[in-house]
Amino acid sequence: MDKFKEIIRQYPFLGFIIAFIILMLVPSVFFTDLYQSHLASLICINIIVAAGLNIVKGFCGQVTVGHVGIYAVGSYTAGCMFLYLGSGLWLTLPAAILIAGLFGVAFAIPSFRLEGPYLALATLGGGEAIRLFIENGDFFMSTYGISNIPQPIIFGVPFDTPDKYYYIAMPVMLIAVYFSFSVLRSSVGRAFMAVREDPISAAASGINVKKHKMLAFVLSAMFAGGAGAVYAHLPPGYIHPNNYTVIEMVTFLAMVVFGGLGHIWGGIIGAIIITIVYDLTRPLYEYQLFIFGLTIVLTILFMPKGIGGFIDKYFIDRRFKTKTGAASK
């Protein structure tokens, strides 16, 4: 077992290949209906956004409440490319990532001078401005939304049903998570954390704070843009400005906070749990928002570092107990 762990540590890509194989088998083993596949695809999309948010908020410590706007940019890049150019996912996905990255630059600029609630307000305004711009623009089909955005066809097989589309959303999610881990483990990731802990000390240590803040916003935006494009093509392929409001932003933030800021696994678990809790409370529509809000409040009160912090504490305690146990022997 230890040898296996060592191999995975040396070759992390292997871990993702194993995860890919397991996740490929999940539907045939666990899913009993197509709705579960739809939910799984939504979870994958939410994980991509949460992983991206973790980069800017968890690793780099920058407050952003406008990410849903960039998510909308990704979706509408895909939607408009289909509408005006007839493009499919393989073209719209990279384009959405690139354009969202450019919007990330715009969102990063206020972070040079603002922080905390002021930065939150600036990004919130940015996100809402994007949505309102889309909603009022005939080019974006305004409040009619863009419909019939096609699903990809691979070797003649259309991935146009929830069960098939899962095999598109899941690999994209795995690539995003792998990339997120790579960033965390790189010198850039360490620089992000230095900026988060103390920007002045980081600058004194030779880290270009502005550059790294910019990079964090851009990388994070690229995740959101990619997720937006995958969402736009999700069957039945319909996007509408109503799906990119502040409520959706709060849901994304809840995933990251619930999972634990700065913990990639926490963000993933947060995205899974929040999406499932939201779904399970669907029949209790009168109390849904109350249950949802209560979950967030209780998490912040009793698990301020989220699930990630809880897991960290468990491992630290276990390590401490093992060491003290060995010492006492």
């Binding site: 305004s142 409040t143 009619y144 419909s147 069957p235 109503n242 669907r282």
Partner: protein
């Protein structure tokens, strides 16, 4: 002992699963995806629950219990799609009722068409929905393609063709104004004297209204959701647009909040809807009395359309149930065919509702009779008068 426990538990599980599956096979399931955000939205949900409870207490559908599964879609397409997928594939419903918002119903259509579940629409009016050509969709309300004609003709012939439009970024509101503009242009060759799209949730329309006033219009169209419509009407008097300028609103004006909150500003406002609370037919009078007593509101056409939908659905389910084979796919098809067989249903709607087999707008826009209504009194004890009704041929406005 442990072995006995395991055997006993397994048996219990098997029996309960069997009982559940037998119960599921026996029940008829109706799924609902609906905007249940506002007070009135909840009341629509209550109306469905109460009606189905009444069905069950009086023997259900041919003796079978009806299971109702109700989800809120918050008027968001993402939630509507998720609800439709869940209802179709997980809850295995026989028929879906929904949604209130056109922007939600539209993306639900490909989902239910692929899953082959009949869907019957209580409120959404956008003509785009039935233009999808799905064989699984049925619309009880009047389509916007009929509303645009009747409202445009009524306004042009009674007020004039110098029309100012103010609309909000909402699909139904924009659809109403834009299709009315297009119709007036095609029929009378006249462009609107003023056209403005207000911002989302904007309630101060005075700058738009002042610009509209400067064009000296014959009619002013305020096309928005409830709050926007109310504010636009009230502020039109605040900025000094004279009473002689006809006020026009979209079918949202049939909601009770509009005359109640607009007060005197509601007087003279004309709108096209599928039902008028001032309808003097005994069936309509009884309905208004019943809704007032039970839910504490004077019903607009949202209530009447839901009531009509449920009233016509029950016999359709009874007819379909006789041919149920236990196979969900063929049972759903039987329900679809039974609904498609509804002809000349006379309920609360201003005209008969008929469907037919083809998945075309001609067959699936069941109600072709909009009624022109005008408020004669605003405030809590508001009153309306029917200015006229017209029944269109099936292909009008296409």
């Amino acid at each position: 002992m442990k072995k006995i426990n395991i055997i006993f538990s397994s048996l219990l599980l098997a029996v309960s699963l069997l009982v559940t599956s037998v119960a599921q096979a026996k029940d008829i399931k109706i799924g609902v995806s609906f905007r249940m955000l506002s007070d009135v939205g909840y009341k629509h949900g209550e109306l469905i629950q109460d009606t189905v409870a009444e069905w069950n207490s009086s023997g259900g559908i041919n003796g079978k219990k009806v299971d109702l599964i109700l989800y809120n879609d918050e008027c968001k397409s993402e939630k509507g799609v998720a609800n439709a997928t869940k209802l179709a594939y997980q809850d295995n419903v026989h028929v879906i009722i929904g949604s209130s918002c056109s922007s939600v119903t539209l993306p639900m259509v490909p989902v239910i068409s692929k899953a082959k579940v009949p869907q019957i629409i209580p409120h959404s009016t956008s003509s785009k929905i039935t233009l999808t050509g799905s064989e699984w969709i049925f619309r009880v309300p009047v389509s916007s393609r009929f509303y645009k004609i009747v409202q445009a003709k009524f306004t042009a012939e009674n007020a004039g063709t110098k029309i100012a439009h103010i609309y909000v970024p909402d699909q139904a509101s924009m659809d109403f104004s834009k299709s009315m503009i297009a119709y007036v242009k095609s029929e009378y060759g006249v462009d609107p004297v003023y056209e403005a799209q207000a911002g989302e949730k904007e309630t101060d329309f005075r700058s738009y209204l002042l610009k509209a006033k400067a064009t000296n219009p014959d009619a002013l169209v305020c096309s928005g959701l409830v709050d926007e419509t109310v504010r636009c009407l009230v502020q039109s008097y605040e900025v000094g647009i004279p009473k002689s300028v006809a006020r026009v609103a979209n079918s949202v004006a049939s909601k009770v909040e509009v005359p109640t909150n607009a007060g005197k500003a509601a007087v003279g406002v004309s709108y096209a809807a599928a039902f008028a609370a001032s309808d003097t037919r005994p069936i309509a009078k009884d309905f208004v009395k019943h809704i007032k007593k039970r839910y504490g509101v004077v019903p607009g056409h949202d209530f009447s359309q839901m009531e009509d939908l449920l009233t016509m659905l029950k016999p359709a389910l009874e007819k379909a149930e006789k041919g149920f084979s236990g196979d969900l796919a063929s049972d759903r098809k039987a329900v679809r065919d039974a609904i498609a067989g509804i002809t000349n249903f006379t309920g609360l709607a201003s005209g008969p509702i008929s469907f037919c087999a083809a998945g075309t707008p001609e067959c699936r826009d069941g109600n072709r009779t909009p009624v022109m209504i005008e408020y004669t009194k605003g405030g809590k004890n508001w009153k309306t008068k029917v200015a006229g009704t017209v029944t269109f041929n099936a292909s009008a406005g296409l």
